[in-house]
Symmetry: C2
Subunit: 344 residues, 2 copies
């Protein structure tokens, strides 16, 4: 191991609204020593995901915030460069929560091995990792699409959305995406095989959705919140299921949008339409991880499921990449490439 | 049968906001003749329920509106005075959807017999009828309270809410009510055995709920919508279940309340708290009707479930009684008494 420093991105201040450059600091820290039962991992890729915006806020949440001065959290994949843990040796590829940094000491109990012979190791952060698992468990457990039903998913070209629509198709449903721009819509229908896709910047979103879903919406996989959700609600069928995975349109909001207050509208609609709206976090479905890996690997192998990565080079560029993610500027699963990948 | 006229309440105009006297007309109609497979029933009691406000509106709903000039719909119980249907004879007590009128011709397939020896026949419109079934199936199927959990129910002294809280107690949960006035709260805790009850007119409703639910809220049975729902959301536990049964606070609304728009707040909270919010209509659970009748009858017999009726005399008073219902002026299950009850 020739490196002696560990570049890290730490949280310098809690963002108010959209994260600014000055809310972060790229600094050089030491490379840690693995204690008993730990390994030192050289990060090759780390993941950037919308949920990280929540970790930058103080206050109650399902997960503790990143402390000021702390390394930003992230899933990562890399190479073991020192091991004090049974079952792990130098040269193993592992994935865990290494954060936005070049080296991380991790507990053996909190990592798992990645086989570079099965798929590029970066997929352990995307289609074969947390985002894929999120799509798989949220759609199949809560959404439960039936053949012939219509599934709508927002952020349809994103790391989760693209997989949701493809699994819906595999299960015999009609898949309709909502994405930010026409280029993404073209990808979703052309490459991923969705039946239709509409852009959420349209002034006629509810009508566009109606046209794209002539038999109404049976499942809405919610990633964005806000106006897209309201437009979907105008087109739901009775007994529609709504797995609530994210609300990216609101993550930078500093206050609720101006009224009228549409919460009572949802209550009323819920009764008449017997809507089922259910929030979830992927870690609730840890017991489905093996099923997810087996099914999605199989679908990738037989060509029925595709994925796209948006790989950004260099840890110095991670803040800008994350800012762009919240604005929908990425195209495919956003992954930072911060160390040599010798696994290929 | 000595009567020759049939007093009826018909819908004269579609209410805008709160129903006015002039939106209805009490008129005298003919007494119908039962055709093949039909019976003529002399109404003894009919039910007034909040859902009827929705039937007065035109526009899309899970049920067709009452036409202008049509008899208002209602569940009713009465005595067969003429029968052209196998299995029904003069003198039988039956319940069905007779409407706001003194006589109704009903299809045998759409009624069922009521045994006056088991309970007062008016209970077939309340604790042993639609409201009881609504409470039973919504709470147990969607809410699924576990021993030691906390169940909150709004409109807690009402036909549905009072039963919800008592079944929660029977299942080993803590029952907390929300009601309009202190007198109703005292009844809910003193007579029905709820652990606590708060009034929704309080300026400190969210804090009052927090005090009444020191371990947070695991199930919220939603009857009223609006501010009560928002106060509940400030006190939910992870994995809280929210059966959505009604939204009585909104039934007379002519527009959504002023902002901010709190719909995105719910989306965000749903994820972190893994909320499950599910609307339902009692007819979705027809297959549970026998279980409901068996269980609730048993609980009434062994003294673990109590009920209260608010019986108003005379069909001429039904409009005023219904107006009061939407304002929370009734106290217990509201039932109109419109014909002699010889069953006692």
């Amino acid at each position: 191991m020739s490196d002696t420093i560990n570049k890290q991105v730490v949280l310098a201040a809690r963002p108010h609204g959209a994260p600014k450059d000055t809310d972060f600091e790229v600094k050089e820290g030491p490379i840690g020593d693995p204690g008993d039962g730990e390994v030192l991992v050289r990060t090759i890729y780390f993941s950037l995901d919308p949920y990280m915006r929540g970790r930058m806020n103080d206050g109650p949440s399902y997960a503790a915030p990143v402390p000021i001065g702390g390394v930003m959290e992230a899933g990562s994949v890399g190479e073991v460069v020192a091991s004090n843990a049974d079952g792990y040796k130098v040269g193993d590829y592992v994935t865990g929560r290494g954060g936005w940094q070049q080296y991380a000491v991790m507990k053996a109990a909190e990592i798992r091995k990645v086989d570079p012979g099965l798929a590029p190791i970066s997929t352990s952060l995307g289609v074969l990792g947390m985002p894929g698992h999120t799509a798989y468990s949220g759609l199949l457990t809560i959404g439960d699409p039936k053949p012939g039903e219509t599934v709508v998913v927002s952020a349809a070209s994103g790391a989760v959305g693209g997989i949701v629509g493809q699994i819906a198709k595999i299960k015999g449903a009609r898949a309709v995406g909502v994405a930010g721009v026409q280029e993404k819509c073209d990808y979703v229908t052309g490459e991923l095989g969705f039946d239709a896709c509409v852009t959420h910047h349209s002034d006629t979103l509810a009508a566009d959705l109606k046209a794209a879903c002539p038999k109404g919406i049976d499942v809405y996989f919610e990633n964005v919140g806000g106006k897209v959700f309201e437009a979907v609600l105008q087109n739901v069928n009775p007994f529609c299921r709504i797995p609530v995975c994210g609300a990216i349109s609101m993550y930078n909001a500093t206050s609720l949008p101006d009224g009228p207050n549409k919460l009572p509208m949802l209550t009323g609609l819920s009764i008449g339409m017997r809507l089922r709206m259910q929030g979830f976090i992927v870690t609730d479905y840890q017991d489905q991880f093996d099923d997810f890996q087996r099914d999605v690997s199989g679908w990738i192998c037989d060509g029925s499921l595709k994925y796209k990565e948006d790989i950004v080079e260099g840890i110095e560029n991670s803040v800008g990449a994350f800012q762009g993610l919240l604005e929908g500027k990425n195209f495919g699963k956003l992954v930072m490439h911060v160390g040599d990948d010798n696994s290929k």
